[in-house]
């Protein structure tokens, strides 16, 4: 009884806010009637979609070799590299934002060099992407590394003895076998990138259509037009559900393969 009751309380704690958002957003007709708010919602949706897609591309391009290296090649200091890569998982996003500003801001460590190349990052969509890569990347690397580790090395060895190049072994043996882990890592990273707020508002600021992602726009709209904020909250809720379903699918397939 006690167990069921506490589980019930916890479930209510999670379900009630979700229901409340949907209820209020539905009452407001989902897309806000104010034309200004509608523009804000659509701009933020578009910006969130393409910046998080860019962030995922960067994460896969840079994170996959990194994860493979960590999984397959023991080297001195690997534990340290491991912890450093996982640091953003436990770092409060506002701290990440200050860090990005101090590193890549105009007065930051790399600021003068970037400036001399004609690159200014703060207050641009590139800053949004960078913030997302920073906070979401480790989710992918972590899962990808576990996936690569689970692929039995002798399978790769057998393939190599059959005269297949290293590159082909990676693509035709390792990646397909690790696919469920890669996919679940990608899903987690995407969810985290979409939800990014603290680092974005510090490093990229908030400008509709340029740096104002869904989460930042929700925060800004809350003060102006609650309906707009609710509409975006409902959309993000839907996306989150979809990502969760994708994750289940990926993990389910993982179990079937194992």
């Amino acid at each position: 009884m006690g167990l069921a009751a506490s589980a019930g309380v916890f479930l209510a704690l999670i379900v009630l806010p979700v229901l409340a958002i949907l209820d209020r957003a539905a009452a407001a007709g989902f897309l806000p009637s104010l034309p200004g708010s509608r523009t804000v919602v659509l701009q933020a949706l578009r910006l969130s979609a393409w910046t998080s897609a860019c962030a995922l591309l960067v994460i896969v391009a840079l994170g996959t070799p990194c994860a493979y290296l960590l999984a397959r090649h023991p080297f001195r200091g690997r534990a340290l590299v491991d912890s450093l890569i996982e640091l953003p998982l436990v770092l409060p996003p506002t701290v990440a934002g200050i860090g990005l500003l101090m590193a890549f801001g105009r007065r930051g460590l790399l600021g003068p060099y970037l400036e001399s190349l004609g690159i200014t990052l703060p207050f641009t969509a590139a800053a949004v992407v960078l913030a997302q890569v920073f906070v979401a990347g480790p989710f992918y690397i972590r899962a990808a590394r576990a996936g690569f580790e689970a692929v039995a090395p002798h399978l790769e060895l057998v393939a190599r003895t059959l005269g297949v190049s290293d590159w082909q072994v990676f693509w035709r043996v390792t990646v397909p076998l690790a696919a469920p882990s890669l996919l679940s890592g990608l899903t987690m990273a995407w969810a985290r990138a979409l939800g990014e707020f603290g680092a974005t508002i510090m490093f990229a600021g908030s400008f509709p259509g340029r740096t104002q992602t869904m989460t930042v726009a929700i925060y800004a709209e809350l003060e102006r037009d609650l309906d707009g904020a609710l509409a975006m909250a409902a959309i993000l809720l839907g996306v989150s559900f979809a990502l969760l379903a994708l994750l289940r699918l990926a993990l389910g397939r993982g179990r079937a393969v194992a």
Binding site: G105, R106, R107, A204, G205, S206, F207, P208, R224
Partner: protein, 280 residues
Amino acid sequence: MRKRSWIIALVVALLCTAAGCSAPPAHPEAAAGAPSAVRGEIVVFAAASLTDAFQDIGRAFEAAHPGTRVTFSFGGSSALRMQLEQGARADVFASANEAEMAKAESGGLLTGKPLIFARNRLVVIVPKDNPAHLKTLHDLAKPGVRLVTAADGVPIAAYTQDLLRRLSRDPQYGSDFVQRVNANVVSREQDVRQIVLKVSLGEADAAVAYATDVTPDVAGKVRTVEVPGAFNVLAAYPLAVLKTAPNPAGAEAFARFVLGPDGQSALKKWGFLPAPESSP
């Protein structure tokens, strides 16, 4: 017996801490010498630009009324008003413009009429090394200047637009001045202190802020470009006691204190202009 008195002392101490009073409980009558039996916590929601002045006022108030504790929540006036509408518990609301206070009033959040307790001027701030080489207000419209302002509804954003519109009416700036300046905006922050932070970090080239935002702390990091008096917009700060104030006596006392000599001198010290004479 001895043990019991210890327990009683402990309970009294705990109750005292919970109630937030710092004075010893031994002689509650001692406080009767103070203007009134005001005690307990007073929660004040105040515009971000009031941060320094109100913290001073809070300390002076606590010293004048032993047994009270003033707790502040500083933020954009629009955000604070929204939090109050959503049921946030507070005793006093101090806004950086009359528009947000009017919304709070029409929403039935206030008791009595709001009173203007201070005014403020606008200035343009640039980072100390002035990376965009701004010299006059004209330069705000130079292409490529990175300006920050606030989100719609935050008072400084409205005052900034007022100022730009006034400048646009002057032929030397040109009627498209407001559009040209707004095209340079790179971010809309949540309150004026965030704007000042971005400029003092050197990430933004310029911003319109309140004269009082250039505090001694900030003065070392920014340079000020004055706005000519003819164009300057005077920001008016109203304050009101909230209808759902958990501590109405404390709220009234704090409001009186802000409007009284102690409050006014603290506001003056931080660069605010006095309340208009007509205000009681």
